[in-house]
């Protein structure tokens, strides 16, 4: 319904392939998608662009800060930011931590794109 041009999505994942397809799919659906493989860069983009939705990969061994810390810093900038965590079944403690730092939802890898669509629709109350 909210067919605004301003619908911004930030995707943070240390796997470049994931960042790329998310960019391609969601820009086709009318989103302005920003992507990075680095947690610190993600925080910078968030400050500058203030995206409506942020997808954060919890486990990012190649990034100076991991997903949970990225979430924490983003929430410090905007405590209402909608953050969806992408994680694995085995990282139960990180899922729990993300919940404490105010994440809105989590998704288990590997997930179908339809699943991501559903989560975005539910937590961000947007339609596309």
């Amino acid at each position: 319904m909210n067919e605004q041009k301003e619908l911004k999505l930030l995707v943070v994942d240390d796997e470049e392939g994931i960042v790329e397809y998310t960019k391609r799919i969601y820009s086709r659906r009318g989103f302005t998608v920003f992507g990075t493989t680095d947690g610190i860069a993600a925080v910078e983009i968030f400050k500058k662009e203030a995206p409506y939705i942020t997808l954060i990969d919890v486990h990012m061994p190649f990034s100076p800060i991991d997903g949970v810390e990225t979430l924490q810093r983003i929430r410090e900038i905007n405590k209402d930011a909608i953050c969806i965590m992408v994680t694995r079944i085995t990282e139960k403690d990180k899922i729990q931590k993300s919940k404490e730092f105010g994440a809105s939802a989590y998704l288990l890898k590997p997930f179908e794109l339809e699943e991501l669509d559903k989560v975005i629709r539910e937590v961000a109350k947007v339609d596309f």
């Binding site: 796997e15 392939g17 994931i18 790329e20 397809y21 998310t22 391609r24 799919i25 086709r28 486990h59 694995r88 079944i89 085995t90 919940k99 994440a103 809105s104 939802a105 989590y106 998704l107 288990l108 890898k109 590997p110 997930f111 179908e112 794109l113 699943e115 559903k118 989560v119 539910e122 937590v123």
Partner: protein, 684 residues
């Protein structure tokens, strides 16, 4: 000597009758001594009559000893009758002049002079001796036990020597010959005494050879100076024989030793050969690190070099509280041995107490251990009986002589060392393997983790392309074709992901916390995990279920999966070499509130006697390099932790095996207790 033997074992009738024989010989020899020492005819005649008491008793005491030695029963009557005849008839008669008409005077002294009745006694004496010899010989020929045979041979030889004592009768009838009989009597008594006292005898050929060489050598050494002395002393050249004696006496032991060595080398060539072979084996076997190979080498070398009917080896297994048969050569004989010998078995007790190899005759008949005329050799490590070898009878039914036993005893020391060495190496290798496995474990776990990312990329991009297909400028056929290609990619991605998930489930650390699990999900995860293995071994795997609704058990998923993995590993091994390999798994309810998993393969099956022991640790049908023998034991422990039960059924070798596992159903399972597998997303 008789007194010595009898004090060794007062209750033995053999020892008692030996005492009687030795005693009568003693009277005879004492009499003879005084006859020869006598200076007056009357005195000599008295000693003749005294000595004859001994002589008269010899046939009956020898007979009694033989009867006791051969354990012939119900001959007491004859023995008592014989004693009566001798004591009541013969001895009193000997005091009359009809028996001994007087004494002869020979250059060496007085001697018996036979009267009219004496020949009758001679006949009686000869008859007894003949009967005794005949009886012994008859038993000797039929004897089964090689050791008994050897003992009988000794007695026969001793008797043959004793019969030479009959030479004493010649001067009794006026033939001028020195009565050497005492020598025969002494040798005979010594031999018989040795046979009774010592259980393990030296090879009699060796004994006789040694004795003959000794007698000949010393006859020369002592004889030559005497002869020389007789010839030259009269000329006053005493220094010559004395120095000759000194020289010969010094040389004597060397000559004796030299001759003895050479004679024995010829006599014991066979024994020396295998002693040498075993010594060589002792040197090399401590270098063997694999216990299985070591035991195989030991048993087959013993059979080949010592030429025995079989050799088997038992090793102490703490986990079973028993000794386990580890190797047997030739392998066909294995079926004749009991696999486990308990720590309390009487053979084990005997070996631990005596700490030396024991002959089968010493051990007697034993349950579960086949000895036939062989030897049991213990292997000790600081007072602990770590193993023992059972060695069969020697080729050609030769008995084990004391030298043989000694060789085995020496051999057992190096064998103990080699076995200990192998166990030590095995432990080290085990630890290293454990460490490697642990590393592999972490590695595969993180691998399973890292696969998620590329899978997500494949999934995402393939989905992206699928969406783009509809908008692309393509013909319908092309669109369909490319769509199918993308479906192939997605399907494979799906497959890899489920396998990885199964590995992840399997690799989870056990927490000890039991949660309700859908048994079908457990089985599904197992088949996902194991399907690559089944495929690689071209096994047809079939999974069926008779369950009408989801059924839950309390447990840990990785552990339950492990049980199935263990069974699958064993099934794969049991089907090696088969053309058609089939494994099937069925789920059904049992006794209302239990769930049963039947795991069936068409492999080589399990022998009925092994059905009970397969769940014990270290039991394996695999070669030592392949399995630890812990698989089914671990499976049992897991199942028991889950309050379940596991057992195997098999119709025998070649007919496949079915393993049954049953678990009690979890009651009152609430949906929130369940691990949510279906839901890959959740809103906070």
């Amino acid at each position: 000597m008789g007194t010595f033997i009898v004090t060794k074992n007062k209750k033995s009738p053999v020892n008692a009758s030996f005492f009687l024989l030795a005693f009568s010989s003693f009277i005879w020899q004492l009499g003879n001594f005084f006859i020869l020492m006598s200076t007056k005819q009357n005195l000599a005649l008295f000693w003749v009559k005294f000595a004859f008491i001994g002589i008269a008793l010899i046939p009956v005491t020898t007979y009694q000893l033989t009867v006791n030695f051969l354990k012939i029963r119900r001959k007491n009557f004859i023995i008592i009758l014989s004693y009566l005849i001798i004591v009541i008839l013969v001895i009193p008669l000997s005091w009359t002049k009809y028996f001994f008409s007087g004494v002869y005077l020979y250059p060496w002294g007085y001697w018996y002079k036979a009267g009219i009745l004496h020949p009758f006694f001679l006949i009686l004496f000869a008859t007894y001796m003949f009967i005794i010899f005949y009886k012994l010989f008859k038993v000797y020929v039929k004897e089964q036990s090689t050791l008994e045979r050897m003992r009988e041979k000794y007695i026969l030889i001793a008797l043959a020597i004793a019969y030479m004592g009959a030479i004493d009768y010649l001067p009794t009838y006026g033939v001028k010959i020195y009565p050497f009989g005492f020598l025969a009597a002494i040798i005979c008594t010594i031999i018989i005494g040795y046979v009774i006292y010592k259980y393990r005898l030296m090879d009699i050929n060796v004994v006789l050879t040694r004795a003959s060489i000794f007698i000949i050598v010393y006859a020369f050494i002592l004889g030559i100076p005497f002869w020389v002395g007789f010839r030259f002393l009269s000329w006053g050249l005493w220094i010559f024989p004395v120095s000759l004696m000194a020289v010969l006496a010094t040389a004597g032991p060397f000559i004796y030793g030299y001759l003895r060595r050479h004679a024995e080398e010829i006599l014991l060539r066979e024994q020396r050969r295998y002693q040498h072979a075993l010594r060589e084996l002792s040197k090399t076997m401590t270098r063997i690190r694999d216990l299985d190979q070591l035991l195989k080498t030991i048993t087959s070398s013993i059979v080949d070099t010592v030429k025995v009917s079989f050799a088997a080896i038992y090793i102490r297994e703490e986990d079973y509280k028993s000794y386990q048969l580890k190797h047997c050569s030739p392998a066909e004989e294995k079926t004749l041995f009991q696999e486990f010998i308990s720590l309390e078995h009487s053979v084990v007790t005997m070996l631990s107490e005596q700490k030396r190899p024991l002959l089968s005759e010493e051990i007697g008949h034993q349950q579960g251990i086949r000895l036939d005329a062989g030897l049991v050799v213990p292997c000790f490590m600081e007072d602990h009986l770590i193993a023992f070898m059972v060695v069969g009878k020697k080729f050609g039914n030769h008995a084990y002589a004391s030298d043989d036993v000694l060789v085995f005893e020496t051999f057992s020391y190096s064998a103990s060392l080699a076995i200990e060495n192998c166990i030590y190496w095995h432990e080290i290798e085990d630890r290293q393997r454990q460490a490697r496995l642990q590393e592999m474990d972490t590695y595969s776990y993180s691998l399973a983790h890292e696969i998620d990312n590329p899978m997500q990329v494949i999934l995402g991009h393939a989905t992206l392309l699928k969406g783009a297909l509809s908008k692309a400028n393509l013909t319908d056929a092309e669109r369909k074709e490319f769509g199918e290609s993308l479906d192939f990619i997605l399907e494979c991605q799906q497959r890899v992901s489920t396998m990885v998930e199964a590995i992840r489930d399997f690799g989870q650390k056990a927490t000890g916390e039991h949660k309700p699990l859908n048994i079908e999900e457990v089985v599904e995860s197992f088949s996902q995990l194991y399907s690559p293995q089944f495929k690689a071994n071209s096994v047809v795997f079939q999974k069926t279920s008779q369950l009408k609704e989801p059924v839950f058990v309390l447990g840990e998923k990785p552990e339950l999966m492990q049980v199935l993995v263990i069974l699958a590993n064993n099934a794969l091994h049991a089907m090696t070499g088969l053309k058609e390999k089939k494994v099937s798994l069925n789920l059904e309810l049992a006794h209302h509130d239990w769930v049963r998993i039947c795991f069936l393969d068409n492999g080589y099956g399990i022998k009925p006697e092994n059905l009970k022991i397969i769940f014990k640790p270290f039991v394996t049908s695999k070669a030592s390099t392949e399995g630890t023998g812990m698989g089914l034991h671990n499976a049992l422990r897991i199942v028991e932790r889950h309050k379940g039960r596991i057992w195997a059924e098999s119709e025998g070798q070649g007919k496949g095996a079915t393993f049954f596992i049953e678990f009690p159903l979890a009651k009152d399972v609430k949906p929130e207790d369940l691990e949510d597998k279906e839901k890959s997303r959740r809103l906070f």
